[in-house]
């Protein structure tokens, strides 16, 4: 790491470190684990389940979906067509992450601005959604969702969450 010296207005010397570019590196095995599972994912079905579960298990997330109609009960949420449609949209976007695992920051730059500047979504929610993706994948893939596969997916969802939150920093 490069060290830079900064002189503050009143003459005090402060040494700071220039941080390296924190790009997430995925190993070949991690990429393979993600890509091979993704090929079998029904994006429409899984997307709807993921968003539905987020809204049920963490009801405060409903605050971002005021115009989604009936979110009054678990069955209303899971059956809500707007939830399903938006879930599909969100997970389709994740498909983009799978294709650009080495370049998530740039891939999600626009979405990051949208979520942060326009929608004002607390970045914590990106982590919660990521966790939901893993849980729903586990219900679908069961034994195939091994600890190694889980690890690769957790790494990806965390990296996407960070990329989406980038505009906050």
């Amino acid at each position: 790491m490069e060290k830079q010296q900064h002189r503050l207005a009143f003459g005090t010397l402060v040494i700071t470190s220039k941080l390296p570019d924190t790009m997430v590196h995925f190993t070949a095995e991690e990429k393979a684990a993600v890509v091979s599972l993704w090929a079998k994912v029904n994006v429409e079905l899984v997307g709807g389940e993921v968003l539905g579960r987020l809204l049920v298990v963490y009801p405060w997330t409903q605050r971002f979906f005021d115009n989604f109609g009936n979110l009054s009960s678990e069955s209303a949420i899971m059956g809500n067509p707007k939830v399903k449609a938006h879930g599909k949209k969100v997970l389709t976007s994740f498909g983009n992450a799978v294709k650009h695992m080495d370049d998530l920051k740039d891939t999600f730059a626009e979405l990051s601005e949208l979520h942060c500047d326009k929608m004002h979504v607390d970045p914590e929610n990106f982590k919660l959604l990521g966790n939901m993706i893993l849980i729903v994948l586990a219900t679908h893939f069961s034994k195939e969702f091994t600890p190694q596969v889980q690890a690769a997916w957790q790494k990806l969802t965390t990296a996407v969450a960070n990329a989406l939150a980038h505009r906050y920093h």
């Binding site: 389940e49 539905g52 049920v56 678990e74 899971m78 893993l134 586990a138 219900t139 034994k143 957790q154």
Partner: protein, 134 residues
């Protein structure tokens, strides 16, 4: 506080785990390795089984006492506060692993209501275990 229905969901899921605490515990701890590599801990299989069983049996105690978790888990809360001092930030990670494990075993039966009930329950357990930290 868990509602009656939430308690029912917790009990229903526990029925599948009861008697197999060691196996589930080992699986749980194996999956947490991915989060705790920095601890440099590399337990062998026997240790995983023993410790996993201990953790799951404690969860079993919590399942039996959802109405008075503080009293039931008091000795464990003392242990975590005075001896183990597991960073509170780690509990959500363990809880996530627990959910993934339940999801992979129960698949479609791990309904959203079950997930919500278990998340609420395990979060309460974690809260009780870290309550005496300061």
């Amino acid at each position: 506080m868990l509602s009656a229905q939430e308690r029912a969901h917790v009990a229903q899921v526990w029925d599948l785990i009861a008697g197999h605490e060691a196996a589930f515990g080992a699986e749980l701890l194996l999956s947490t390795k991915i989060y705790f590599k920095h601890l440099g801990v590399c337990p062998d299989e026997a240790q995983l089984l023993t410790h996993g069983q201990r953790v799951l049996e404690a969860v079993g105690v919590a399942v039996q006492h959802t109405d008075h978790l503080r009293a039931a888990l008091s000795p464990l809360a003392d242990l975590h506060a005075q001896v183990l001092r597991v960073d509170p930030a780690n509990f959500p990670l363990l809880i996530q692993c627990f959910h993934v494990m339940l999801a992979s075993h129960l698949q479609g039966e791990f309904t959203v209501q079950m997930q919500a009930a278990w998340d609420k329950f395990l979060t309460e357990v974690a809260m009780v275990l870290t309550e005496k930290y300061r």
